[in-house]
Symmetry: C2
Subunit: 324 residues, 2 copies
Amino acid sequence: MDKERLLSAIAEDLKKIEAALGAVQASQVPFINEVSHYILFAGGKRLRPLLTVLCARLCGYEDEQIYRLSVLFEYLHAATLLHDDVVDGAEFRRGRKAAHNLWGNQATILVGDYLYARALRIAVEEGNFDILKVVTQTTLLMSEGEVLQLLNCDNTGLTEKEYEDVIFRKTAALISAACECGGIMAGVSDKEREALREFGRHLGLAFQITDDLLDYLGVSEETGKDIGTDFKEGKVTLPLLYTLNQASESDRTRLLSLLRDTEPSRETFREAVEIINHYRGFEYTRQRAEVEVEKALSHLFLFSQNPTRDLLENLTRYILVRRK
Amino acid sequence: MDKERLLSAIAEDLKKIEAALGAVQASQVPFINEVSHYILFAGGKRLRPLLTVLCARLCGYEDEQIYRLSVLFEYLHAATLLHDDVVDGAEFRRGRKAAHNLWGNQATILVGDYLYARALRIAVEEGNFDILKVVTQTTLLMSEGEVLQLLNCDNTGLTEKEYEDVIFRKTAALISAACECGGIMAGVSDKEREALREFGRHLGLAFQITDDLLDYLGVSEETGKDIGTDFKEGKVTLPLLYTLNQASESDRTRLLSLLRDTEPSRETFREAVEIINHYRGFEYTRQRAEVEVEKALSHLFLFSQNPTRDLLENLTRYILVRRK
């Protein structure tokens, strides 16, 4: 299934998700709505709510109220984006100025808190304790993941296992929860819930690994982000991690000195990309993403084949070829 | 009841609240526990959990599990303190270095998120939807209050009504929720729930108004905070607000120029205190706090007299005479 066919297959759901996002009760404070709108309607892919909707449908749940629930995952995601903006000091997000550059760190932190509170409120309104347990467990994991990422920021001795643990908490846990909650709404068995959770977890890992790859190999106009940001910030992700473990002593030393360049130029980054390329660090990273996609699909295949499963399968494979 | 008798009457409850705080599941990330411990065990008064315990008891609920629930309000409070630290850029908190000065803004924001997630998790574990509704509604109000406070920071045209709205959201909403949830645990009627909610709301308003007064008239060694911080930051609270509305044109102009002094000295603050004193701004503020205390008590008196009600009454009156 090519990109156009995939997009057309999900167009109707995306429209309903946008409508549900717009229908969430607004704040009495206009400024909060202004910042929320900026971050919520900044061209997000809506991957998380879409997964909730599709996983629920995969399990036979067709009620339209799924859209209302699904947007809580977009709210949680937006809340973490706002806090990330402040923590990373990023200049751009999705090709537009990062929120903290427009409204300052203070407002950005506080509106993040608001979006987070609003997400929990949506979960409470659903009135399902299993959903609430998954969501609150996920927010704990996510905040731990963010802290771990901060602590590991310039840890060049990070193991692949530690890297995976951080990206699980930071990214995959929420995607996994979005999938599992679709199943909960459909009232599936524990076994099916676990399959959806694992499907989402591996999909989320593949998603983040690809993101880390795009930070090296993407095209700025397509990703809407600066390229090389992770490297310039000294953030150790899989391409670099793998190369540091494989490289000769002299290449490793050179790579570390490039990483620690306090004023990295385009040339610094280009040389680092060359070294990583030499050790096939990007190839290895792509393979790791492929492995996660295959694992994700193996859990999906526990469900009987139908158009929704086909769509989820295509969506999962698309993770690997996406350019943003 | 003097301070010593009051403290001895609540000593047993405070001990059990400390134990419950210590028994909350720790994070797998040691650093998070370190920062959490610093903010949670920094000599807080435990007012919020104590109110939950006492309000539950007032309504006949004696089960020890109330302590486990009660600490969620301390967690929520601690989460807001961490984000406040970053937003205000405060140097000290409770006589110790503010968290962001020890661990940086980034970690402080993220551990705040963790504490917030942990609080919600405690609420979910209780398994009571009424509690969850109150708690999530409160977190929405609180985040709105923080944003409003930021937006109003140097708004010298603030009305008393707007001031009250901000301090309700920022402080009183959580105290009100702590009281109401005590009643919910006891399974009281809607009417009693409302009485507890209103009791907590007025007590919370009195508490914050007194806090704003102590920022002018407190003694640094007793409050553990810098004195005059609000004024130096240009924050408009009731003593100033009232005086700006009462003062002659020339005193008003002078007060505004002192407030806008970008490098305020001890002398700047002293002169402002003098002007506020002249217009009885502190007296008026104290009276407003007294009115809130009386309103709080009027709701408390809906319950039949017993030792717990006496204790709550004394605790409420103590708000006015506290020095920190």
